[in-house]
């Protein structure tokens, strides 16, 4: 690693494949800036993703990377982080990847408090497959698969993640790369499961939730908000009703999964030098 890393040093040299005006550029910029601010060694950074437009993120980063299966970035990253707690683990993906096909894994990332940073770019639509209704699409949205409008309520990712036990929960609008960077930086510094929800417009397929729309619904979390209070974080989301709070909602410190695992190994008297013959001898009749 260089003595001083610039944003360029975190770029892979592959140009993003996203459409012009895509919100994911803001998230990517936020990631670059956060990495610069923390001067993270690219060799110690692993970016894991699933499938979707935003899951292409790893290709654009200079780091170790895994571009895995639709919905499975969470558990892949969990295995990786547990196996190598010395690495910085960054998960990137979208609303369909994280909350539809991968929705069964989200509770476990939270409750286990896996020490990773999850940046979820939510465009309320399936972009890569050309505009189908997603788990966060607005109910009445007409789309590729909902020509008469949708019939299901959108999910509430922030509320879920708070409930699941994530220990750092934040939201930003992709158009504000500075805020994205600050919150992602906070997430990377945080010990535990950090969830950063980014409202990210899809100008190609989602004509409803445009950049202007997102700008109109966001509202800064007041400075007076107590980020250590789970109830207040939830209350804030409910209180705002049609608005979306942006900023840090909640942060707490709880033992992470790898810390708990290390304690467990210590309790078992574990070491690489532990004599395997002692285990074999237990099978003597």
């Amino acid at each position: 690693m260089k003595e001083s890393m610039s944003p360029k040093d975190y770029q892979s040299g592959i140009q993003p494949v996203w459409c012009a005006g895509c919100g994911n550029y803001g998230a990517l910029s936020g990631i670059y800036r956060a990495l610069v601010a923390l001067q993270i060694d690219p060799a110690n950074l692993v970016n894991v993703s699933g499938i979707g437009c935003s899951s292409r993120m790893p290709y654009f980063l200079n780091a170790y990377k895994m571009h895995t299966l639709h919905g499975r970035a969470g558990p892949v990253a969990t295995g990786l982080q547990l196996a190598r707690p010395d690495l910085d683990v960054l998960v990137t993906g979208g609303d369909g990847d994280g909350f539809s096909i991968g929705g069964g894994h989200m509770p476990h990332l939270g409750r286990s408090n896996v020490n990773l940073t999850y940046v979820l770019m939510d465009n309320h639509i399936y972009g890569l497959t050309k505009g189908q209704f997603s788990p966060t699409s607005r109910r009445d949205m007409k789309s590729y698969t909902t020509p008469y409008g949708g019939i299901e309520e959108p999910m509430r990712p922030l509320l879920y993640m708070l409930t699941y036990g994530a220990t750092y929960v934040a939201q930003a609008y992709a158009g504000n790369a500075k805020m994205c960077a600050e919150l992602i930086k906070g997430g990377l510094e945080h010990q535990g499961m950090a969830y950063i929800h980014i409202l990210s417009q899809c100008p190609t397929f989602n004509k409803l939730d445009t950049a202007d729309y997102f700008k109109s619904i966001i509202q800064d979390i007041p400075e007076s908000h107590d980020v250590s209070d789970l109830h207040k974080a939830m209350h804030l989301i409910y209180k705002l009703k049609d608005k979306e709070p942006v900023g840090l909602l909640y942060q707490t410190r709880r033992p992470t999964l790898d810390e708990c695992m290390a304690d467990l190994v210590e309790q078992a008297g574990g070491s690489k030098e532990y004599d395997i013959n002692k285990i074999i001898d237990l099978a003597r009749p």
């Binding site: 692993v46 895994m66 299966l69 295995g79 196996a83 190598r84 695992m261 574990g270």
Partner: protein
């Protein structure tokens, strides 16, 4: 020591302590220095239903559970009804006298008031211990060993429980003194076992993984594979490894892939339904060339099927279960000894070939306790993946002479790369051109071409220079049954040979062809409906074997194989 081979079968209701009783007999015999091979069936439900535990013990290596029993112990009338057809001359039955069985000629009957004695002791769950005492006295199973084992087994439940069980055992022992012993059904004097261990197939897989240097294990509960997780949850942390229970099988294989990418040896174990769920991620492992091992302890299928019963029906799923052109290396174990040593093999070849490996075991082997020689750790080779030597520019999927590209663990400077499920060039960048797909797909298949000759050759049972009228091909735990059938047939002068592949996929085609050249007729014996190995043989070789299948949730017996061979002569 004289030659002997005795089979005990204890049967009753699922809640009557059949398993405890069988475990104690097996352990006492093993401690006495006898060989052990156990077989059990039990209901899928937690309580109730028919349970059976068979202990075969002998002076020589045992390869299977045997045809039937020499000594039958029935704790209730239902278990008698199920087994009465096997009461042949020379056998003995010990039973609870609350029912009156028909005793065929030549069968020795030992009615025991198990229920009544238990009631007198004020401990109605003592029936199995009364039976154990009777069996100990009648057939010379070391009472000393049994009492020590019994005390050990129940010590966690407190001194009172231990004493109650010992009292019941003594009652049985005393009651049996009024009976006359059968000379042909006596175990020799107990000695002390040395250099031997006894464990189940599932425990042995856990032990093999530890020997291979497993770092990471993740699994989701499923019958009949869960004991592997139980074993590794207890022992892997001692070796500073990580064992985690995932939220589902998709997550467990995903965690394994993440840990493997991170540079660690990683494994999961499941049964058929879990293997189905893991299919997509196994395709990713193949495409991204990430080592991974999945142990599939097969059970009766399809769907939920027969969760506790025996079947070898996941072979095609293991071999062909991926979408796209993808391979899995498939190994299958015959017995508990294989469970130790081939789990090492599985982890070794996964690392060596950077390819997913499915290790097939089965339900009867999972729960079968067998005595095996103490593993000689110095002689077991443990293989590490090929890692980048830091020379030149790193390319994750670099074309090499043997098509195996060096890996680089995260943290290695100047080797940042991507593991991807997209088709990619040598540097990992996505590329969908015809040239790239053709070239990289060929690379992924070509690297496996050396495996059939690298891996140990399939065993030929019989005189490999001679000719045979019948050649029997078997895989998995069926091999042990075929071994005994072939030995019996050859003792009669019948010209029959066996062929036992342990590497199932990619196939050792030349070896199949060579074996076929020695045999006039080939038969493949396997416990599934479709004749799955026979199907693969027809697809991959020039051979057209006869398929002999069984699909009833139970393994073959040696007698069944013998009969089929005779029919084919």
């Amino acid at each position: 020591m004289p030659k002997y081979d005795l089979i005990f079968r204890i049967a009753g209701d699922g809640g009557e302590g059949i398993i405890s009783c069988g475990d104690l007999i097996a352990a006492a015999c093993a401690r006495s220095g006898f060989e052990i091979f156990t077989f059990k069936t039990f209901p899928a439900e937690v309580r109730g239903g028919y349970a059976m535990y068979q202990v075969r013990t002998g002076s020589e290596t045992l390869h299977n559970q045997g045809d039937t029993f020499d000594i039958f112990c029935a704790l209730n009338s239902e278990s008698y009804e199920i087994n009465k057809a096997h009461l042949l001359p020379g056998t003995a039955i010990v039973y609870d006298d609350t029912f009156s069985p028909d005793i065929p000629e030549g069968v020795t009957a030992y009615p025991v008031p198990m229920t009544q004695l238990s009631r007198q002791l004020g401990f109605k769950k003592a029936k199995n211990m009364v039976a154990l005492g009777v069996l100990s006295a009648l057939f010379n199973i070391s009472a000393n060993h049994l009492k020590m084992l019994l005390a050990d087994r129940f010590k966690n439940k407190g001194e009172r429980v231990v004493q109650a069980n010992i009292d019941a055992f003594d009652q049985g022992l005393m009651h049996a003194s009024k009976f006359e012993k059968r000379p042909g059904l006596q175990l020799p004097k107990a000695e002390q076992a040395t250099n031997v261990i006894m464990l189940s197939g599932n425990e042995a897989i856990g032990l093999g993984a530890l020997i291979a240097g497993l770092d990471f294990y993740s699994a989701y509960p499923i019958t009949p594979a869960s004991e592997i997780a139980k074993y590794l949850a207890l022992h892997l942390p001692k070796r500073a490894g990580t064992m985690i229970q995932a939220e589902d099988e998709i997550a467990s294989i995903s965690q394994v892939i993440g840990a493997s990418f991170a540079g660690k040896k990683a494994m999961t174990a499941t049964s058929g339904p879990g293997l189905s769920l893991m299919s997509e991620m196994l395709g990713f492992a193949f495409m991204s060339e990430t080592p991974a091992v999945v142990v599939d302890v097969q059970r009766g299928g399809p769907s939920t099927g027969l969760p506790t019963k025996h079947e070898q029906s996941d072979l095609l799923a293991a071999v062909y279960g991926s979408h796209g052109d993808a391979m899995r290396i498939v190994l299958s174990v015959e017995n508990v000894n294989d469970c130790i040593h081939m789990t090492v093999d599985a982890l070794n070849v996964a690392e060596l070939y950077q390819c997913p490996v499915v290790l097939l075991s089965d339900s009867s082997l999972a729960f079968s306790s067998q005595t095996v020689p103490l593993p000689e750790l110095d002689t077991i080779e443990v293989v590490e993946r090929r890692r980048w030597d830091s020379e030149g520019e790193y390319q994750r999927y670099a074309m090499t002479a043997d098509c195996i590209s060096p890996m680089a663990d995260p943290g290695t400077a100047c080797a940042m790369h991507i593991a991807t499920g997209l088709e990619h060039k040598q540097d990992g960048r996505p590329s969908f051109t015809p040239g790239t797909h053709q070239k990289m797909s060929t690379k992924r298949f070509d690297k496996l071409k050396s495996l059939p000759s690298y891996y140990k050759a399939a065993e030929i049972d019989g005189d490999a220079t001679g000719d045979a009228d019948i050649g029997v091909i078997a895989w998995g735990s069926t091999i042990g049954v075929v071994r005994e059938a072939i030995a019996r047939l050859r003792a009669e002068g019948i010209r029959v040979m066996g062929f036992y592949p342990k590497l199932i996929w990619p196939m050792q085609v030349d070896q199949y062809e060579a074996f076929a050249g020695m045999c006039a007729t080939l038969v493949v014996a396997e416990v599934n409906q479709q004749g799955q190995l026979a199907h693969l043989i027809r697809a991959e070789t020039t051979l057209h074997p006869v398929s002999y299948t069984l699909c009833g949730g139970m393994p073959f017996t040696p007698g069944m194989i013998e009969s089929r061979v005779r029919e084919l002569l």
